[in-house]
C-alpha cells in the first residue's frame, strides 16, 4: 500500500475515533483488558522467576540435596514402596563424606515438627512456627550461609551436646529487635538454649517466609532431645560445580549399596540439586503460563468480537463514503486497508493502554504484597502484537465486505 493511502487511512481512523468517542472507547476497553491481563500476569511471573534465580545463586550452585522423597507437591497416596522407605541416617552422611571423592562437605539436617508448630520464646515474645533442626559445623560452608553476629556451632558443641542455638535472621529480629541476642537464653519447644549466633539474612524462596525463620542447634544435642527423629536431609557440597554430576553419581551408587537396592530397581531415595528444583519450578510456572494464556485469550477474543462488531457498524454507516471513495478511484485494497488500519489502530491503542495498565498493576501488586514484579520486555511486544493481530483477524471480514461493495449501490445507500 502507498504511503499516501496509509496516512489517509490513519487520518480517517482518528477522525472516526473523534466522532464516535464513546463506542471507540468501549472497543478499546475490550482489548485493553485482555492485554492488561497478559502483561500484569507475566510481570509477576517474570518477577518470581528473577527472584528464583537470585535465590539459586545465594544457595550456591554446587549444593546437592539428599532425602527420602523428592520435594514437591504430593499428589494422591504414596506407593507401597514409598511408604516403606527407610530414612537417611547420620551414618549415611558420614559414609557420603568419607567415600565420595567428589564431595567436599556434608551437612546432615535433622528436623523436628512439633504438633501445632514449633515455637521459640524470649521473655514474653514468641516466634511461631520456626523450623527447628540439628546440624554440624559444616552447615555454613555447605549452604553458603554464614553467621553475622556471634559464632556458629562448633565440633565441641556437638560433642558435648551443648544447649546452644543459632537463630535465623527473622527469629533474631522478632525476639530481640535492637538487643544483642548473643548470650541471651531462649526457650524452644520448652527447652532452654543460649543464643550464640545469628545467621545472615537469606533471600526468601517464593516469599514462603521459611528461609530466615529457623532455630538451629548442635546435631547431638538434637538427637538427645529427639532420639525418635531418624530421618535426615543431607545438604552436600561438591568440590566444584563441574563435579556435581560426578558427586551425584557417587552418592547415588553409595546409597544404593548401603540401602541394598537391587540393581534392577529404581532408587528408593532422592538426590537432587537446586537446578532440579528450578526445573520443577519452571514446570509449575509453565502451567501458570498456560492458564494465563487461556484466560487472556478469552479476554482478547471478547475484545476481538468487540472490534469486529464496531467495524461492521462502521462499514454500514459509511457505505456512502465508501461509494464516494470508489467512484473517484479507490481500489479494493485501498478500502480494505482503510478499515484494517482503523481496526488495528483502535486495537493498538487498547494494546498500548493495556500494557501500561498491566505494568502499573504488577508494580502495585509488588508494592503491597511480597510478590515481586519485572518488566517483561518481550511480552510487551507480544502483547502489542496480539492486540494488532486480533484487530487484523477480526477486522478482515468487515473490511473485506467494505472492499467488495459496488460503488453505485453505495452511492444510492440511504
Amino acid at each position: 500500500m502507498r504511503l499516501s493511502g496509509f496516512t489517509e487511512s490513519l487520518l480517517i481512523a482518528f477522525g472516526t475515533f473523534r466522532t464516535h468517542k464513546m463506542r471507540s472507547f468501549l472497543t478499546i476497553l475490550g482489548v485493553l483488558i485482555g492485554v492488561a491481563c497478559i502483561i500484569g500476569m507475566v510481570s509477576i511471573i517474570k518477577g518470581l522467576d528473577k527472584s528464583m534465580a537470585g535465590q539459586i545463586e545465594s544457595l550456591g550452585s554446587n549444593v546437592i540435596y539428599v532425602s527420602k522423597f523428592k520435594p514437591g507437591i504430593q499428589m494422591g497416596r504414596r506407593s507401597e514402596e514409598e511408604r516403606n522407605r527407610k530414612g537417611i541416617t547420620f551414618e549415611d552422611a558420614v559414609a557420603v563424606r568419607e567415600n565420595c571423592p567428589a564431595v567436599e562437605a556434608v551437612s546432615p539436617q535433622n528436623y523436628y515438627h512439633r504438633p501445632g508448630g514449633n515455637y521459640a520464646k524470649y521473655r514474653n515474645i514468641e516466634v511461631t512456627r520456626p523450623s527447628f533442626f540439628g546440624t554440624i559445623p559444616d552447615y555454613e560452608v555447605v549452604n553458603n550461609s554464614f553467621v553475622v553476629e556471634g559464632r556458629f556451632i562448633t565440633d565441641a558443641d556437638v560433642k558435648f551436646r551443648a544447649y546452644v542455638c543459632i537463630l535465623g535472621y527473622d527469629v533474631a529480629k522478632t525476639l530481640f529487635e535492637n538487643l544483642d541476642p548473643v548470650g541471651k537464653k531462649i526457650l524452644v519447644n520448652g527447652d532452654r538454649f543460649t543464643v550464640v549466633g545469628v545467621m545472615e539474612k537469606k533471600e526468601e524462596l517464593l516469599g514462603s517466609g521459611h528461609a530466615n525463620n529457623f532455630v538451629l542447634i548442635p546435631y547431638d544435642t538434637f538427637t538427645k532431645i529427639h532420639p525418635e527423629e531418624k530421618e535426615l536431609a543431607l545438604a552436600v557440597k561438591a568440590r566444584s560445580p563441574e563435579l556435581i554430576p560426578a558427586a551425584i553419581d557417587q552418592i547415588t551408587e553409595l546409597l544404593r549399596r548401603r540401602r541394598g537396592v537391587p540393581y534392577d530397581k529404581p532408587d528408593d531415595f532422592a538426590v537432587f540439586t537446586q537446578e532440579n528444583l528450578m526445573d520443577m519450578y519452571k514446570q509449575l510456572t509453565g502451567i501458570i503460563y498456560l492458564a494465563m494464556i487461556v484466560i487472556s485469550s478469552i479476554g482478547l477474543l471478547v475484545g476481538g468480537v468487540g472490534v469486529m462488531n464496531i467495524m461492521l457498524v462502521s462499514v454500514t454507516e459509511r457505505t456512502r463514503e465508501i461509494g464516494i471513495r470508489k467512484a473517484i478511484g479507490a481500489k479494493r485494497k485501498d478500502i480494505l486497508w482503510q478499515f484494517l488500519i482503523e481496526a488495528s489502530s483502535l486495537s493498538g491503542i487498547g494494546g498500548v493502554l493495556g500494557i501500561i495498565l498491566g505494568l502499573l498493576f504488577a508494580q502495585l501488586v509488588a508494592l503491597v504484597s511480597p510478590l515481586p514484579a519485572a518488566v517483561p520486555l518481550l511480552w510487551v511486544l507480544i502483547g502489542f502484537g496480539f492486540s494488532v493481530g486480533v484487530a487484523l483477524i477480526f477486522g478482515i471480514y468487515p473490511a473485506y465486505r467494505a472492499s467488495k461493495l459496488n460503488p453505485i449501490e453505495c452511492l444510492h445507500y440511504e
Binding site: 499516501s4 464516494i324 453505485i408 452511492l411
Partner: protein, 233 residues
C-alpha cells in the same frame, strides 16, 4: 474517438422482474465535445452515465474509452480508469462531510499516490479554477449548494481527466446558481475538456453542442444545438 459504445445493454433483475435500463445504445463522442443527455425520468440516463463513467459494467455490448476496451475490465482496472480518465459530478455532490474542501479535492490524488506537496498544489489550483480559493478549509456543511457543487467540480478536474461527466449537476440548485455552474462547464469546455451532462431541462441542455434524447433505454433522437448557442441565446 474518445467514446465509442456498441450495442450497450444494462439489465437489472429485481425479484422475478427484469428491467432493461439501457437497451442497445450505440454512441460516439469525440474528444473536446460537449454533449447533453435528456429524457424522461426512468429513461436510463443515469444508468448510461454510470456505464460511461465506468462506475458500472454493461450487461452486454462494448464500450471503448480512449481506445481502451473498458467493458471487459476488472473492478480494480475500472477504479484506475475512474481515477485517471474520468471526473464525475453528481446531483447530490457526494462530498465527504467531515473533510475540508481542500481535502475533498485532494482525494482522487491520494488514490494514485501523488506526493502530498504536489497534491495540495494541484488541489488548490483546481479550487482556483472554480473560484473557491477562499473556502479551502471549509467543510461541505459550511458551504452553499453552489459552492459544494463547485468543490465537486474541482475534485472532478484535479486529475486532469479525459472526460468530465455530470449527472444533473444543477438538479439540487436554484436557477441562478445552476446557471453559474453551467457557465463554469462552458468555460471548461472552451478550455478543451470533453463534457457529458445529464439534465431534464432544455435550457441547461442547450449549453452543449449535441443532445441525445433517451427513451426507454434507447437513443430516440440526436440534435445538434450549436446554432442555438451561436445565435446568442
Amino acid at each position: 474517438m474518445l467514446i465509442k459504445t456498441v450495442d450497450l445493454w444494462k439489465t437489472y433483475t429485481v425479484g422475478t422482474e427484469t428491467i432493461h435500463a439501457v437497451q442497445g445504445v450505440s454512441v460516439e463522442i469525440e474528444k473536446g465535445e460537449y454533449v447533453a443527455i435528456m429524457g424522461p425520468s426512468g429513461s436510463g440516463k443515469s444508468t448510461l452515465m454510470n456505464l460511461i463513467g465506468c462506475l458500472d459494467s454493461p450487461t452486454r455490448g462494448e464500450y471503448h474509452l480512449n481506445g481502451r476496451r473498458v467493458s471487459a475490465m476488472s473492478d480494480d482496472e475500472l477504479a484506475y480508469i475512474r481515477n485517471k480518465e474520468i471526473g464525475f459530478v453528481f446531483q447530490t455532490f457526494n462530498l465527504l462531510p467531515r473533510a475540508s474542501a481542500l481535502h475533498n479535492v485532494e482525494l482522487p490524488l491520494i488514490y494514485n499516490g501523488t506526493s502530498s506537496g504536489e497534491r495540495i498544489r494541484k488541489a488548490k489550483e483546481a479550487l482556483k479554477t472554480v473560484d473557491l480559493e477562499d473556502r479551502m478549509t471549509h467543510r461541505p456543511n459550511e458551504l452553499s449548494g453552489g459552492q459544494r457543487q463547485r468543490v465537486a467540480l474541482a475534485r472532478a478536474l484535479v486529475n486532469n481527466p479525459a472526460l468530465i461527466l455530470a449527472d444533473e449537476p444543477t438538479g439540487n440548485l436554484d436557477t441562478a446558481t445552476g446557471a453559474e455552474i453551467m457557465e463554469l462547464f462552458g468555460r471548461l469546455h472552451r478550455e478543451g475538456n470533453t463534457i457529458i451532462i445529464v439534465t431534464h431541462e432544455r435550457d441547461i441542455a442547450i449549453y452543449a453542442d449535441r443532445i441525445f434524447y433517451l427513451r426507454d433505454g434507447k437513443v430516440e433522437k440526436e440534435e445538434d444545438v450549436r446554432h442555438i448557442k451561436n445565435s446568442g441565446n
